[in-house]
Amino acid sequence: MKILVAVKRVIDYNAKVRVKTDNTDVDLSNTKMAINPFCEIAVEEAVRLKEAGTASEIIAVSVGPKACQEQIRAALALGADRGIQIETEDSPESLNVAKLLAKIVEAEQPELIIMGKQAIDSDNNQTGQMLAALSGMPQATFASEVSIEDGKAQVTREVDGGLQTVAINLPAVVTTDLRLNEPRYAALPNIMKAKRKPLDVKTPADLGVELKQHTQLLKVTEPAERSAGILVSSVDELIEKLKNEAKVI
């Protein structure tokens, strides 16, 4: 079974973003970038399926400028076999990303596509679902457990009320939640080996996809600041403040 994983280059989850003073966007210059944590979980799941003998090949795809090859290499170091970069100027809108990925899916015919449930920069939580719809495939989002059997995937999903289990026909799209697995660290020899693994570069034109603009970013602003609070010295004082000052209990 061939598995495709999509990896996005995003701000490191520990880094703090700044809003540009002209409010046109956030300022990411000199910010540490990394593979989106949910995508790392996607790669790890694919590698585990390969180690278990279920998967035969893992392809890691990223959409974006040349710099996102770093994240493809990171996926290769974790155990993906080859990479594809789809070269675009910025990170395009989710629907465009989904359309580009759909073309790769058409060409590569993977039986399983594993993606992150959300990218921690734009927090959209939509690309996997869009890809599934465009490819006419079923989906299992927010996965915390995946097992593959008889041409189907049985997936436990983290939903608002608890856990839901669904069975989906393959090929299908699965998006990862935090508790699906704990990604390994890439060992140094694997990082070296990853440098020699094949990495193809394609353009949207190669894939026959025209990128359309569906949204326009009007401005980016700072969220409302909370005003500084006070420290109380005892439980009695806390209760008194909550009753008489904040009036919330």
Binding site: V17, V26, F38, E93, S94, L95, Q118, I120, D121, D123, N124, N125, Q126, T127, G128, Q129, M130, L131, A133, P138, Q139, A140, T141, Q154, R157, E158, V159, D160, G161, L163, T165, V166, A167, I168, N169, D177, L178, R179, H214, T215, Q216, L217, L218, V220, T221, E222, P223, A228, G229, I230, L231, V232, S233, S234, V235, D236, L238, A246, V248, I249
Partner: protein
């Protein structure tokens, strides 16, 4: 201009987030239709008819929609939604699951998790774990939107809309519901609670959450958790508050043994009053707290429970 809102329900009752989504629809302005797609869902449709501001309820009653499977539901919404200017659903795990499929099939963008309506085509949404707010304009003819419930008031339930039954069912049969394990609790639901008390890694283990539950019972509060507490297996996943868990904005949020990582703050910093109880006075949670108590939670919680 007419707006189609997709109700979230369990066939017997509406989920609260539906009411907040109706308010967002009212702010956009236009005729509002509420779709209830389910199985044996008459009680939910009746509840939908009572939501103020709704002019018509569309009811689709078929086994294909019993569990709101994304594949079937998206197909239905696609068919019913073409003539609307906006299609809205709550940004819950159900809405997040099927709505992007609707958008993709309509060849339009989805504007995810909006927190304010600026105009009929422009919306605010938090990005980077709420550390920046983007104002996004949709250029599409049909606007597909998910709504953050905590950012909008709940609509009243004193309306009386007509219910029209629609016959449009199709089971794509590519996905199948197997089972579910839903948390049972007499406490209010996290996203609707007026008071929330959450525990973090500092709680030490799952048994110690009983201390939070006792205080919660006195305050009529819901109990939440940080990711670290969920990952450690102290409590189940549906209790996680944060960027990648539930977004909450109660009147009072009490964080106990939680350090205040940005991913946690993203889920609770719009709460009206925040209390932090932590033994480390340097913990970042104190920077957003209205009232901070630097102390050992194992001393504080029993005392709080006794004195409330």
């Amino acid at each position: 201009m007419a707006i189609l809102v997709i109700a979230e329900h369990d066939n017997t009752a509406l989920k609260g987030a539906t009411l907040n989504t109706i308010t967002a629809a009212q702010q956009i302005g236009g005729d509002i239709h509420l779709l209830v797609a389910g199985f044996n869902c008459q009680p939910a449709a009746d509840a939908a008819a009572k939501v103020a501001g709704v002019s018509k309820v569309l009811q689709v009653d078929n086994a294909a929609y019993e569990h709101q499977l994304a594949e079937n539901l998206a197909k239905l919404v696609l068919e019913l939604g073409r003539d609307y200017s906006h299609i809205l659903a709550p940004a819950t795990t159900t809405g997040k699951n099927f709505m992007p499929r609707v958008a993709a099939l309509l060849d339009v963008a989805q504007i995810s998790d909006i927190t304010a309506v600026e105009a009929a085509d422009s919306f605010q949404r938090p990005i980077y774990a709420g550390n920046a707010i983007a104002t996004v304009k949709s250029l599409d003819a049909i606007k597909v939107i998910t709504v953050r419930g905590t950012a909008f008031e709940a609509a009243e339930q004193n309306g009386s809309a007509d219910i029209s039954s629609v016959d449009a069912a199709e089971d794509l049969a590519i996905s199948q519901f197997i089972s579910e394990e839903m948390a049972k609790s007499d406490r209010p639901e996290l996203t609707a609670a007026k008071v929330i008390i959450s525990g973090g890694r500092g709680m030490g283990n799952g048994e110690n959450f009983a201390m939070l539950e006792q205080v919660a019972d006195k305050l009529g509060a819901a109990v939440g958790a940080s990711r670290a507490a969920v990952d450690a297996g102290f409590v189940p996943n549906d209790m996680q508050v944060g960027q990648t868990g539930k977004i909450v904005a109660p009147e009072l949020y009490i964080a106990v043994g939680i350090s205040g990582a940005i991913q946690h703050l993203a889920g609770m910093k719009d709460s009206k009053v925040i209390v932090a109880i932590n033994k480390d006075e340097e913990a970042p949670i104190f920077s957003v707290a209205d009232y901070g108590l630097v102390a050992d939670l194992f001393d504080v919680m029993p005392e709080l429970q006794q004195k409330l």
